[in-house]
Amino acid sequence: MKTKRVMAIASGGGHWVQLMRLRPALDGLDVVYVSMDKSSAADVPGHRYHTIRDASRRNKAAFLVVAAQLLLILLRERPKVIITTGSAPALVSLILARRLLGARTIWIDSIANAERLSTSGEKAGAVADVWLTQWPELTRREGRQPEHWGAVL
């Protein structure tokens, strides 16, 4: 059977809170959620929810653990689309999902990045089918330009 599954992933804190504001985009779809805090499962009743460890780019060992966790989750869930509001671990999940599963990918850079894209957001440009900034000013720049479709606020 062909899966119609979407994976929605965000780091804990502000990234998750922003993802939750986008939930009308996912209404009624087969969505599996991934974040870092066990208690966030309560925000998405009726959906499967997986946790991964927190890791920043600064901690290479933790980052490998997170990549392994993401790999297992992706192989089990096999999403066809993956959508995220960041941060670095979510970028890893986009890369893996695209390479391994041929998933289509949506990166929405955090609204906190008002003056320039986040480091992960910058890299996401190479792997995102839909590559968005929440700030219209950031679409005007040299090289490949992210799009602006709106903002969570």
Binding site: G12, A25, D27, E115, V130, G150, V152, L153
Partner: protein, 162 residues
Amino acid sequence: MIFVTIGSMFPFDRLIRGMDAWAAERGERDVLAQIGDGAYLPRHMRHVRRLSQADFTASVANADVVIAHAGMGTVITAGRLGRPLVLLPRIEAWGEHTTDHQIATANWLRDKPGVFVADTDADLNEAIHAARGAGGAAGRLSPVADPAFTGRLRAAILDFLE
């Protein structure tokens, strides 16, 4: 209750130290501070290192005023629950974050209803005073983003699922 929070990532002792001094000076007893991995332990505020997402939301809901770093989790949660908010942005040069994006966030939110920016820790007292005066007047944010945005995302997702 006054809720002080530094978010889920890096420590922010400047805010915790400033608020501890404020609580001592003012004799405020009902202050809860979430301090992360900070080295400074407050002596005049109750404190926890981390809160689950659920306990964080509950702490914001129970607060008369929220005093925080300029992080979007706190900004959106306080806005949604209609709680007045004091923001002290983290400064990169002092090792408080990896970039100065919190200064941009503070500048962008500066004149929004219910938001009071303290540019430095010396401005905290005045900002808290203004936030307390605002009371429940802080605007209540809708729980979801603009339908034009979520609608366009949904159309893209449905197209990819075809």
